[in-house]
């Protein structure tokens, strides 16, 4: 790859070569692949017998069964198809947070969005490596960037290079984005949401349920900065909301313990809500290595 992207890195590819990403649910893909599909097909995996019906392939009739029972049965096999991984990145202003003292040089800044993008790039690489397809969407004031699923590394590289230029801002409106994406995405596939989930939880969960209800698997990577998990060592400061620009003046020391409790509640709420809806939930700290996070997650998933 010429001009290696910040997010899509060869070294990540090397570290991911031993990993595989499979869906826990059956997936519907365009092409034959390695993932179990709800359809019957011509794989080596036997699935079931069914009474012969006119129109069935004569070659599919199990003649041994006909010899024993004098009835015509057709032998059914599992259909394996490829998987479509829908990556949805939160591109809201809150994802731009890169610490209380971020470097002025934008190229040296490492925000939550960067972290999420790097993680999504690693997932995309993994999908392409195992002959699956990935699509990439960014939620910023609605679904602003949706890329059709592709298994091409070159295309992927182009997406992530474009992503580098993207400056997270405004609100994500994840509920709206999820609705839009559910229209565009494959019927059964994998949705991976990488967000700080600072929108209305109910609306987001409702949007995610659209995917689970139709058989897609949903994985939520909850990306948070370490400063958000543990407030920085400050005295008095004016905090400005990254999305709404509302201000709050307070002494960090005064609210630290209360904030910790609020944060704990917030994380617990998301964790339990996701699990209750059959979604995977994983908290990702910006201090963690995204490849390590992915390895750990996939290891636990197996």
């Amino acid at each position: 790859m010429d001009g290696e992207s910040r997010y899509l890195r060869l070294e990540d590819l090397r570290r991911l070569r031993h990993l595989t990403f499979t869906s826990r649910r059956r997936v519907e893909g365009a092409y034959a692949g390695r993932h179990v599909s709800p359809h019957r097909g011509h794989s080596v995996e036997f699935a079931d017998y069914r009474a012969y019906m006119p129109g069935d392939e004569v070659g599919d009739i199990d003649w041994k069964v006909y010899g024993r029972s004098d009835r015509l049965y057709v032998k059914l096999f599992e259909h394996h198809s490829d998987m479509t991984v829908n990556l949805l990145l939160d591109g809201s202003g809150s994802m731009a947070y890169a610490g209380i003292d971020p470097p002025r040089d934008a190229t040296k800044r490492y925000s939550k969005f960067d972290h999420a993008a790097r993680l999504s790039a690693a997932i995309a690489l993994l999908a392409i490596k195992q002959q699956d397809r990935a699509s990439l969407s960014v939620a910023r004031e609605g679904l602003k960037q949706w890329r059709r699923p592709s298994g091409s590394m070159a295309r992927m590289e182009g997406w992530f290079k474009e992503l580098q230029a993207l400056e997270p801002s405004g609100e994500a409106r994840l509920d709206e984005v999820l609705h839009q994406l559910s229209q565009k995405a494959a019927k059964r596939g994998l949705l991976i949401l990488l967000s700080d989930l600072l929108d209305e939880p109910e609306a987001i969960l409702k949007g995610l349920s659209l995917f689970t209800h139709r058989g897609s698997e949903v994985i939520v990577f909850h990306v948070l900065h370490t400063d958000e998990l543990k407030l920085p060592e400050l005295d008095d400061a004016v905090f400005q909301d990254s999305e709404t620009a509302s201000r709050l003046t307070l002494n960090v020391g005064d609210v630290r313990s209360a904030y910790d409790r609020s944060m704990k509640r917030f994380l617990g709420m998301w964790s339990s809500a996701c699990r209750a809806r059959g979604m995977d939930y994983r908290l990702v700290r910006t201090s963690e290595d995204p490849i390590g996070v992915l390895s750990q997650y996939l290891g636990g998933r197996a």
């Binding site: 202003g93 809150s94 994802m95 947070y97 209380i100 939550k112 700080d196 600072l198 948070l224 900065h225 400063d227 958000e228 400050l234 005295d235 008095d236 400061a237 004016v238 905090f239 400005q240 909301d241 990254s242 999305e243 509302s246 709050l248 003046t249 307070l250 002494n251 020391g253 005064d254 609210v255 313990s257 209360a258 904030y259 409790r261 609020s262 944060m263 917030f266």
Partner: protein, 716 residues
């Protein structure tokens, strides 16, 4: 000084420190302004966290701010040294106090202690006392207690700034403090003043300065008027680690050129630890001689430097002590002596010394046996009526032979008496002519009992053929110890036909030689400060054969040695005393000569001199010697005379007065810290009230502690 609600702030200037209380407020405001603006994602959670707490937190912050301000205020007030005066003065501070600060500026306060000179803590303590004065109400003055105590201003002043500036220039002198005179002056300054009168004495309480007061029975109540309160503020931690030089002399006291002389100097270790000292003696500008000695604690030792003097005239000697001790000014000792080509001896006789057989003839030859130029003694013959004060001034000894009959008012007697009073030595060979009469007239001037013997008649055996001889003597005495047995026998065989009868000898003046009849032949009497030797025989041929014998030469030479003073007659001059140069041979009318005379001080600057006295006895006087060293009397660039001036050796002993002695002198004593030697932080002036700064300081610290405690609790 500021008074508020019965509290007097001694260092009111420090109240401005209360402005520091603005610092926490300023810090608070600046903190508000300098708050960081942080774009933060999870502000919703922050809002949840701060909801319901913000009012409480604000209140907490205000409480902390108030505690900080209060702590700063209390500490600033503590530094303003508040005094509770309401209790003592009924709500008003003491007013109209008259205070005299007596400052000991003697040489001993110039000592180094803990790396600083003692004068600095003394000055600091005095400044503290000035701080306690009520500006515009209290009157004060400074008295410098040196050799000549003097006040800063004639009356007391109500402007402490004048005193403060004077204290800024306070230095230790090289004098010895005249404490009694300082008290007298302080008493005079306070006389006629209204209100409370106080004398504050700032001193290192050096025992050698203060003990004489106790010995004389002087106490604060005796030295000062009854209405004057005295407090002694002691500085110095009693460290007496000082080594000093003192009491130098040369032996022989009047050396002659080519003679080996011994320069003596005393080294005293006043400290309580052994010292290794290096002492050098530099004669004129020659290479110094150096000796290294180890001195035990409180040991004093005489160090001797033998040296040969090649030139006649005045010689200066500087003894230098190399030792890291407390007081530097006594590590040098200045000394001078005169070296002569020959020693002048005056022979007074009314006979002709060139007439063979006369007493003068034999005496002259016995005193200078090798010819006049080669003898160490330069004998000057003068008849009895030619003797003047000048002719005796430099005489090492005076020998009197035959004298004509002299009346009681003869100048010779008064001049001889004066000579003896100055410490001179004279021998009188009294067996010839009217010797008995003259001698009686002379001894009568001193009183009947002064000499301890009676002068009898002169016995004359020349007609009878009988004779006296000298058969007994105190041969071990310093005068006669050079006479061996043969000399004694020789002396005993000499016939003496005339001899003075000396009777009723008292016990304390035993005869050195005795005649064969047992009567005294040679007596030595210490008269005034001098020495008088009376010989009852004479060398004249009319009196016997003594003059013809060599043993008489030996006796005369020994006699001159015996009569020469064993110590220098020069006065030891001290810093703080006047320096007087006698101008021998200059008349008052000789104005031009007097104008040419200058005295150069040790620092090289000409000193102010005053010329007093009558014709022939003019004296050039420097009123006060300020510096130790050599004061040189010069005339047209030539040094005529040189006088060494040293500090008073009593200043070298830095031992302070015992506490018990101190208590006898005054009951009100502020003792210094044993470690630092600095004055304790207590009010020095009476009527200053009860100190409150400790209370304020403690309160400030407590408030600060509360603030820190609350902060840590609320942060949890």
């Amino acid at each position: 000084m500021v008074v508020m609600a019965g509290i007097t702030f001694v260092s009111a200037g420090m109240l401005f420190g209360g402005l520091l209380a603005a610092l926490p407020i300023a810090a608070h405001l600046m903190n508000r302004r300098a708050r960081r603006r942080i774009v933060f994602p999870t502000i919703r959670l922050l809002e949840q966290a701060s909801a319901g707490h913000s009012r409480l937190f604000k209140a907490r912050r205000w409480v902390l701010l108030m505690l900080r301000v209060l702590a700063v205020w209390l500490i600033a007030l503590a530094f303003s040294r508040p005094m509770w005066t309401a209790a003592e003065t009924g709500g008003e501070s003491g007013e109209g106090r008259s205070v005299v600060l007596v400052l000991d500026t003697s040489a001993s306060v110039g000592r180094r202690q803990e790396g600083v000179r003692l004068i600095h803590p003394l000055r600091a303590a005095a400044l503290r006392a000035l701080d306690e004065l009520n500006i515009g109400v209290d009157a004060a003055d400074l008295v410098y207690a040196d050799a000549h105590p003097h006040a800063l201003v004639r009356g007391l002043t109500r402007n402490p700034q004048v005193l403060r500036e004077a204290l800024g220039e306070l230095i230790a002198t090289n004098d010895r403090a005249d404490i009694r005179a300082a008290f007298t002056l302080a008493d005079a300054l306070l006389k006629g003043q209204a209100g409370t009168k106080q004398v504050l004495v700032f001193s290192d309480i050096q025992a050698t300065n203060w003990k004489p007061l106790l010995a004389a029975g002087d106490t604060a109540t005796r030295l000062l008027s009854p209405d004057i309160r005295m407090k002694i503020v002691a500085v110095g931690n009693g460290d007496t680690g000082n080594v000093a030089l003192s009491d130098a002399f040369v032996f022989p006291p009047h050396p002659i050129v080519g003679q080996t002389v011994r320069l003596h100097v005393r080294v005293v270790n006043y400290g309580t630890s052994p010292r290794r000292v290096e002492v050098s003696a530099r004669l004129d500008s020659e290479t110094p001689l150096t000796r290294v000695e180890a001195l035990s604690p409180e040991e004093q030792r005489e160090m001797v430097f033998p040296i040969v003097v090649d030139l006649a005239g005045e010689h200066d000697v500087v003894f230098t002590l190399s030792c890291d001790d407390a007081l530097a000014v006594d590590n040098r000792f200045y000394f001078s002596f005169r070296c002569s080509d020959r020693l002048p001896v005056v022979l007074v006789s009314d006979d002709d010394p060139n007439q063979p057989g006369s007493g003068g003839y034999f005496l002259l030859r016995a005193l200078a046996p090798r010819g006049r130029e080669r003898d160490p003694l330069s004998v000057r013959h003068i008849s009895s009526d030619e003797v003047t004060r000048d002719s005796l001034t430099d005489a090492q000894a005076v020998v009197i032979g035959y004298t004509r009959l002299l009346s009681a008012g003869a100048p010779l007697f008064s001049l001889l008496r004066e000579y003896l009073e100055r410490g001179g030595g004279m021998a009188w060979f009294a067996a010839e002519g009217p010797a008995a009469h003259n001698l009686r007239t002379f001894t009568a001037m001193f009183g009947s009992e002064a000499f301890g013997f009676e002068i009898g008649p002169v016995r004359d055996y020349s007609a009878t053929g009988a004779a006296l001889s000298i058969t007994r003597g105190l041969w071990d005495s310093s005068l006669l110890d050079m006479f061996d047995l043969r000399s004694q026998e020789t002396l005993g065989r000499i016939r003496l036909t005339r001899g003075l009868m000396i009777g009723s000898v008292s016990g304390y003046s035993a005869p050195l030689l005795s005649f064969s009849d047992g009567s005294p032949a040679l007596m030595s009497i210490d008269a005034e400060d001098g020495r008088f030797v009376l010989a009852g025989f004479s060398p004249s041929v009319s009196c016997g054969d003594l003059g013809k014998h060599g043993v008489f030469v030996a006796l005369c030479q020994s006699l001159i040695q015996y009569l020469r003073p064993a110590h220098t007659e020069r006065d030891v001059l001290r810093v703080g005393q006047p320096v007087e140069f006698p101008l021998t041979g200059i008349d008052a009318e000789d104005a031009g000569v007097v104008r040419d005379i200058t005295v150069i001080a040790p620092d090289g600057r000409p000193g102010n001199i005053q010329i007093t006295g009558a014709d022939g006895h003019l004296v050039a006087t420097v009123a006060v010697a300020r510096e130790p060293g050599f004061y040189r009397l010069r005339r047209v660039g030539r040094v005529l005379k040189m006088l060494p001036v040293n500090i008073d050796p009593r200043e070298s002993n830095l031992a302070p007065l015992d506490d018990s002695d101190f208590g006898k002198l005054s009951h009100s004593v502020v003792s210094p810290s044993k470690d630092t030697g600095r004055v304790a932080n207590v009010p020095l002036l009476t009527g200053a009230g009860r100190p409150l700064w400790r209370v304020f300081l403690a309160a400030g610290v407590v408030v600060l502690g509360c603030e820190m405690l609350l902060q840590s609790v609320w942060k949890r």
